[in-house]
């Protein structure tokens, strides 16, 4: 815990250098990003989707630090830049905890930062990242919660409450977020994991919605976590800072949610990698987070399983692991839908690239993270089993690179027109909360394919 406190951030948010949107983008962000990418000689190599160049990872870190210190974070409500000094950043990095405690009771987890090629398995958060129909939300949540490798769950999101659309900032959101929190709490009890670390609730977009569900009896507990986003790119607003102030007081874990956009303001893979690392520094200092959810994604495909994306996902995790104790869950966004061979290949490639690079896992969002009911825990199960396997066998980045390259060659030609797959209700026996036999067979075949490629599953 650094000397930088929430009230320092509030003060800088109101008294920092005045800066309008265009000035921030054109005079600060764009030129500084171009400068650091060039200065630190960061270049994408498509032949190495999982690079093993330590110096490159460290240069990305250095570029991100320089960029972050120069640009700061723009509060779009106050038009002020929140600027952090080098000494403050170094203090926050020095004081970052060796371990974070999350969850409760038998489900308590001691979450520690991983190193590159670490033999300790990843911390795994199972999450579909999409909305589900209200009438199957409990069963869908139970399906995720029951996964044995889940150290935490970010449950399915509600789009309707008592049959009515949930609209952010309205009473329907208040009703919906409370219903969502109650259903999740029921799900963990029914599965017999009442203390499981929940990152919740995704239905609450507004600050008031997040405050409404903080309740240690029926809602989101102080042993759970919340996500607070950084706006695109390097921006925040008062509503997000309200959430930070509330979570700090309530005592739950803060997860900083960051998704640098490939093809966006940061440009290609190089700038996007630098930006995503810089986003983690925003989390560490401005949001004073406990962990980061990292989901850099491709602007056109809204996924991060392509070759350029895995390159930058891997390097972001390596840069962080080699230079900090920041916890980062690498969040998989995929092109194919559930019930397809492609989704298993995407999920496992992303898991391998992330885990050998020192990252933890937050997985899996199929079908561009877009379509209701199109996600199941089975894709996440394979990703997390693969992540644990490659860590346990001590897989090097060089070996991982070969496996990921082989997987990529099997699916990268289909990224633009990926198969849609099937919704949860067709992939699972909903009421019995278990995968359909055909889908289990497909999962087993995917696991066998990975075994043939060199992944040594313990079971």
């Amino acid at each position: 815990m650094s000397h930088l406190k929430m009230w320092d951030i509030m003060a800088r948010s109101e008294e920092g250098p005045y800066c309008e949107d265009d000035e921030f983008l054109y005079d600060l962000f764009l030129p500084k990003m171009a400068e650091v990418v060039s200065k630190y000689d960061i270049k994408f190599d498509p032949a190495k989707p999982v690079p093993d160049d330590d110096d490159l990872a460290d240069r990305i870190w250095q570029a991100a630090v320089e960029f972050f210190l120069a640009v700061g974070v723009h509060n779009v409500d106050t038009h002020r830049r929140i600027v952090i000094t080098e000494a403050e950043l170094n203090e926050a990095l020095f004081l970052a905890p060796e371990v974070h405690q999350v969850g409760a009771g038998h489900e308590t987890r001691w979450w520690m930062p991983r190193k590159v090629e670490d033999k300790r398995g990843p911390f795994c958060i199972f999450s579909p990242d999409i909305t589900y129909d209200e009438d199957i939300l409990l069963q869908a949540s139970m399906a995720y919660v029951q996964e044995p490798l889940a150290d935490g769950v970010c449950g399915p999101i509600l789009e309707e409450s008592i049959g009515r659309n949930i609209t952010s900032g309205t009473p329907s959101e208040m009703a919906g977020v409370m219903e969502h929190a109650m259903l999740l709490r029921n799900a963990v009890k029914l599965v017999g994991r009442p203390g499981l670390f929940l990152v919740a609730v995704g239905t609450a977009q507004s600050d008031t919605g997040q405050v409404a569900v903080s309740n240690n009896e029926w809602g989101v507990r102080s042993t759970d976590g919340r996500l607070i986003g950084v706006l695109t790119e390097m921006k925040t607003d008062n509503e997000l800072l309200n959430k930070v102030a509330h979570c700090k007081q309530f005592g739950c874990a803060i997860g900083c949610l960051t998704g640098a956009i490939y093809g966006g303001y940061a440009g290609g893979a190089e700038g996007t990698a630098v930006l995503e690392v810089a986003h983690h520094l925003v989390g560490l200092t401005v949001y004073q987070h406990n962990f980061n959810n990292s989901f850099p994604f491709h602007m056109q495909h809204t996924s991060n399983s392509g070759r350029e994306m895995l390159w930058l996902v891997s390097l972001v995790q390596q840069a962080l692991s080699r230079n900090s104790r920041i916890l980062s869950t690498s969040n998989g966004f995929f092109n194919a839908g559930p019930g397809t061979e492609m989704i298993f290949r995407e999920a496992s490639a992303h898991a391998i690239a992330s885990v050998v690079s020192g990252g933890d896992l937050w997985t899996a969002a199929p079908r561009h993270n877009k379509y209701r009911n199109y996600a199941t825990p089975l894709e996440a199960r394979l990703a997390c089993e693969t992540g644990h396997a490659v860590a346990r066998q001590g897989m090097t980045r060089a070996v991982a690179c070969g496996i990921v390259d082989t997987l990529l060659k099997k699916y990268e030609g289909q990224i633009a027109e990926a198969p849609e797959g099937k919704p949860f209700q067709e992939c699972y026996e909903v009421m019995r909360v278990r995968p359909q036999g055909w889908y289990l067979d497909m999962y087993k075949a995917a696991k066998e394919e990975l075994s043939q490629l060199g992944v040594e599953f313990p079971y």
């Binding site: 706006l231 790119e233 509503e239 093809g263 966006g264």
Partner: protein, 219 residues
């Protein structure tokens, strides 16, 4: 290389000060302002196409758009003085709906639409449905574009359409919806006219919509 060719190059390279200077020089040399604008429009469409295919990224697109804007500021007086004022494709008001603070998708769409020749008014983020309608009325808009990045803010897109219906204005505007979670099915459910699947497709789709509107009006 002629001055106009240099100007086109400066715009494509995103060099705003040079673009402004070269636009001024082109006017001094007696270039036809309308023809210069046509050349710049074609250049920006090419830049937009390269962005659409992933050949270039957003910084290049935005810097080119900014250079184009600077050149247009210089060309505007000459353009107004000449008889060759190019017809605008249409007037669009664009914003991110109430409760939603995400702007990048909207900003890309605005850049592409301006590059295509639309007159675009950016209403910003967290825009109330009624404010969309009021601004569209004030500005004489043809099209209303509403972006949402969250499933819980998508209902505000439907609220916009419902507000137009309630005010008896639904047929006056083409309503296009965009944003990551938005699908063609949602556009139909919300009662909007078209789906802004991505910025490049939106620009082409709206050009066609305006052409259809003009044809329908007998123009």
């Amino acid at each position: 290389m002629t001055t106009v060719e240099q100007l086109v190059q400066a715009v494509q390279d995103g060099k705003a000060p040079q673009a402004a200077e070269l636009a001024g020089r082109a006017v001094e040399e007696g270039a036809d302002a309308g023809a210069v604008v046509d050349s710049l429009g074609a250049a920006m469409r090419a830049v937009g196409d390269r962005f659409g295919t992933g050949e270039i990224f957003l910084p290049e697109l935005m810097l080119a758009a900014r250079a184009m804007q600077k050149a247009m500021e210089v060309l505007q007086p000459a353009l107004l003085a000449s008889a060759s004022v190019a017809a605008k494709l249409g007037v669009i008001v664009v914003g991110t709906v109430k409760g939603d603070v995400h702007e990048i998708g909207k900003d890309i769409a605005i850049t592409m639409l301006r590059a295509s020749g639309f007159e675009v008014y950016d209403l910003g983020r967290d825009v109330n449905a009624l404010d969309f309608v009021r601004r569209a009325e004030e500005l004489g808009a043809d099209i209303i574009g509403a972006s949402a990045l969250m499933t819980t803010t998508m209902p505000a897109q439907k609220e916009l359409v419902d507000t137009l219906v309630a005010k008896g204005l639904r047929d006056k505007y083409h309503v296009i919806l965009g944003g990551a979670p938005v699908t063609a099915e949602w556009v139909a459910e919300a009662g909007a006219d078209s789906w802004g699947e991505d910025a490049a497709k939106s620009a082409k789709l709206l050009e066609q919509a305006m052409a259809d509107k003009r044809a329908g009006a007998g123009r």
